[in-house]
Amino acid sequence: MKLNGVLAAALAAGLLLGTAMTASFAAEVPEGTTLASEQIFKYRVLDNINTLDPQLVEDVDTSAVVRSLFEGLYNSGQGGDPVPGVAESYEVNADKTVYTFKLRDAKWSNGDPVTAGDFVYAWQRAVDPKTASNYAYFVGLVGVVNADDIVAGKKPVTDLGVKAIDDKTLEVTLSFSSPWFVRTLSHATLFPAPKAVIEAKGVDWTKPENIVGNGAYTLAENTPGERVVVKRNPNYWDNAKTVLEEVQFLTINDENQGLTRWRAGEVDQTDVPAGQYPALKAELPDNTYSVPNFCTYYFSVNMTDKQTNAALKDVKVREALSLAIDRDVIVNGVLQGGQTPAYSFTHPLTAGFKMPDIPAASMTQADRDAKAVQLMAEAGYGKDKPLEINYIYNTSEAHKKVATVVGQMWKEKLGVTLNLADMEFQTLLDTRHAKTYELARNAWCGDYNEASTFLSLLDSKSEQNDQGYANADVDALLAASKTSADPNVEYAAVEVQASKDVPIMPIYFYAKVFMQSASVKGWPFTDVEQNWYAKDLYKVAE
C-alpha cells in the first residue's frame, strides 16, 4: 500500500497554494443569526470510544472525539481540503520531499506552549514498537523517512525524519516526492502529544483528571458504553471563534433506538436505518440527509487454489454472476439511502480521479441479464446444470439483506444456489485473510483522498488483497502510476483490467444517511470523508 505516486495536477496545484491558504477554519456564523442559548451538540456514536490517545486511534467515531481534544498541523476544512491548524504555514522544497512548517502560538489546555518538539515526540511515539499502535504504519505510508524501519525494530526512533529546528519550526523529510502530504496531517496519528503528562502518568494519562490536549475542547467525562463529554477549552488558540460549549458523544448501539431518541430530541444527529430514508425524507425533508461516503461495498472472489469451486475460476462465470446482480434493486429497493450502484472499484468522487468507461455500467439490466445467461451457458452452466456457491458475510441486518437479495437474483436468473453463511466479524476477517472462502462480503473505505487508496488493493503484493488476485499487468500499471505524469491513465487501465478479470464484484458506493436537528449548522456535507470538527459547528435558535 505504498503511494509514492504523483497526483493529478489540479490537486497538486491546490496544495501548493498552502502557504497562502486562508479558508474557513472555525464556526462561521453569518451576520444576523440568532444563536441558540444552549450550545450543546449531542452526537450519536455506534460503539464505544476505544481510546483517547491520538497515536492509538483506529476508528472513525473515536477519531471524531480525538479531533476535538487535539489538533494537528493542518485540519480538514468544509470541503475536505486542508486548512491551517497548529501550523500557520509551510514551505516545501522543489522535489516535494522536505516540508518545513511554521507553528503558531498555540497552547496546551494546561497553558504550556505547543512546540515543534511535541510533534517530534508524538510522531516518534507513533512508530515506537513499545507504543504498539495499530496505525504505526501510517507514518511510513505518508512517507516520513525511516518510519517503516523503526516500526520493524531496525532503527532507533530518533532516526525518524522529523526534526524541531526551533520551538516554532518543524521540518519533515519524506522518502518520496509527495504533493499530498499536507492532506494527511489531519489524521489523529500525526497529532501532537504532551510529553510531560504521558511520562508522568503512563497509561492513565488519558483519564479525565490527567489528560492535556491542544484541541478546541477538553475532556469532561469518559464513560465507555455510555458517553464521552467534552467542554470548551479556553486555552485553545482560536477559542474566540468556538461557538459550541459542549459536545456529548452518546453511545447508542441500536440504530432504531438512536432514531427514536433523535425524535425525542435526546440526540442531535443519528444514522438512518437501512430502508427508512425515503419515508423519513418525505416526513422530515429538512432533517434528513444523504451524502456520499468514501467507501465501496463489494464481493471478493477467491482467486486462489485454496478454494475448490472450479466454476469460480472461470472468468465467464464470474462475469455472469457480476452482471446478474441488479444493483439498482439493491440501492433503490433494499438500502434506499442514496447509495450509488458500483461497477468499478474506486469511489467516483475521489479527488482527481476520472472513472473510465466500464461496459457493464452503461448497459440496461435486461441486457446484462441476457449477457449473463449467455456467459453461463458458454461456461457450461445453466438451469439444467446448476451451480452452487458458498457466500460468507458478517452478522448484520444490512449485509443479510444484500446477501438474500443477490442469492435470489442468481437463483432466478442463472439457476445458481447461493448458500449463505453468516459469521461473526472476526471469524469473517480470519476466513477472508486465510483465503478459505469462495465468495465473501467486503468493503473498503479510502484512507486518503486519492485513487491509489482503493486500487493498491488489487496489487498482488497488497496485504489487503483478500482475493489473492494476481495479474502482472495490473502490478506493472500500479508501479508505473507512482512515477507517471498523469497516473489517471494507469488507474483507468487498472479499473478496466479488473472489470475484465472480475476478482471483485463491486456492488455500491456508500452514502452516509443521517438525521440532524435543524438547529445544527456548519456540518461539512461536501467532504466525502465526513471529517467534522465540533469547533466548526453552531446551533441556531429555533
Binding site: V151, P224, T260, E266, Q426, L429, C445, Q464
Partner: protein
C-alpha cells in the same frame, strides 16, 4: 454453618480455576485476534502489538502468568481493545452500573412478585388471582428485547416522561426503564412460584389445624404460612440474581447504560481476551456467591435443614 460456608468456598477456588482454563482455551481456539479490523494490519506492526501484550509467548506461559497476576495482584491485565484502559478499569466502571439497576430490579421483582403471589393464593380463582396469573404468564413470554424498545417508544417518545437511555451517574430517571425491562419476566416467575407454593402450604394439615384453633386469618398467613411458602422462591433467587447480570446484555444495548453485559459481548466479538476472561471470572464468582447466599438463607428460613 461456618464449616459449610468454608467448604463451599474451598470448592469455589478450583471451580474458578477450571472456568479460567476453559474460557482461555475457548478464546485461543476462536478465529481472529483483538487487533484485526476490516483493514489488515501489517505484520511488523502486529508483531509489535503482540510483543507489547506478551501474546508472543507460548500459550501455557500466558495462562500461568495470567493466573499468577489475578491471584497474587488481583490484576486482570490491560484491555486489548480499549487501549488506554485496564480490565480492572472496565469492571470498576461497568459493574457498579449493572449492580445498581440489577439490585433495584431484583428488589422490585421479589417484593412485587411475592406480594402478588400471596394475594393471588389467598383469593384463589378470584379476579386478583386471574389477573396475577394472566399478567405473569404474559410478562414471562414477551422477550425483553421486545419490551425494551416498546418502553422507550411509550415513555420517551410519546409520553416524554423518561430518558430513552444513558446513565448520567445513576440518576433515578435513567434507572426506571432498565429496571422495568429487566424485572418483568422474573417478577412473573416469582409470582407464579409464590402463588403455587402458598396454595400448597395453605392446604397443608398444620395450617388447617391453626385455622381450626381459631387463629385470625392474617396471623395464620403471616406467622405460619409465609415462611415455609417462601422456600421455593428463595431457591429461585440465585438464578434470578444471575439472570439480572446476564440480562444486562439487552439492557446495555438498548439503554446505553454502560454496564458489564455490553462490555462482555463487545469483548467476545472483538476477541478482547483479557476482558472476556476478567468478566467471566467475575460472573463465575458472583454466581457461586449467589448460590451460597441462597443456601444459607434457605437454611435460615427452614430450620429443619442443617448446613
Amino acid at each position: 454453618m461456618i464449616a459449610f460456608i468454608l467448604k463451599r468456598l474451598a470448592v469455589a477456588i478450583p471451580t474458578l480455576l477450571v472456568l479460567i482454563v476453559i474460557s482461555f482455551i475457548l478464546m485461543k481456539v476462536a478465529p481472529g485476534n483483538p487487533f484485526a479490523g476490516e483493514k489488515t494490519v501489517p505484520k511488523a506492526v502486529l508483531d509489535n502489538i503482540f510483543a507489547r501484550y506478551g501474546l508472543d509467548k507460548p500459550e501455557w506461559q500466558q495462562l500461568l502468568e495470567y493466573i499468577y497476576n489475578v491471584v497474587f495482584h488481583f490484576d486482570f491485565g490491560p484491555s486489548f481493545k480499549y487501549r488506554d484502559r485496564t480490565v480492572n478499569d472496565i469492571i470498576a466502571q461497568g459493574f457498579p452500573v449493572t449492580f445498581t439497576y440489577g439490585a433495584w430490579a431484583f428488589l422490585f421483582a421479589t417484593v412485587i412478585g411475592v406480594s402478588l403471589g400471596v394475594a393471588a393464593a389467598l383469593r384463589q380463582n378470584g379476579w386478583i388471582d386471574h389477573l396475577a396469573v394472566g399478567l405473569s404468564i404474559g410478562a414471562q413470554v414477551v422477550p425483553n428485547f421486545v419490551m425494551a424498545p416498546v418502553l422507550v417508544l411509550v415513555f420517551t417518545l410519546w409520553l416524554r416522561w423518561l430518558p430513552g437511555g444513558g446513565w448520567d451517574g445513576g440518576h433515578w430517571s435513567n434507572i426506571v426503564l432498565p429496571v422495568i425491562a429487566l424485572a418483568t419476566s422474573y417478577l412473573a416467575s416469582i409470582t407464579r412460584i409464590m402463588r403455587s407454593s402458598m396454595l400448597e402450604v395453605l392446604g397443608s394439615n398444620y395450617i388447617r389445624t391453626a385455622r381450626a384453633k381459631g387463629l385470625p386469618g392474617w396471623q395464620v398467613v403471616f406467622r405460619h404460612a409465609l415462611r415455609p411458602a417462601m422456600l421455593p422462591v428463595v431457591s429461585y433467587l440465585g438464578p434470578v440474581f444471575v439472570g439480572m447480570v446476564t440480562g444486562s446484555v439487552v439492557i446495555d444495548l438498548y439503554f446505553s447504560t454502560g454496564g458489564i453485559g455490553q462490555a462482555f459481548v463487545n469483548s467476545a466479538l472483538n476477541r478482547d481476551y483479557s476482558t472476556i476472561l476478567g468478566i467471566t471470572i467475575l460472573l463465575g464468582a458472583l454466581t457461586i456467591a449467589a448460590n451460597l447466599v441462597v443456601d444459607v438463607l434457605y437454611a435460615w428460613i427452614d430450620p429443619k435443614i442443617k448446613l
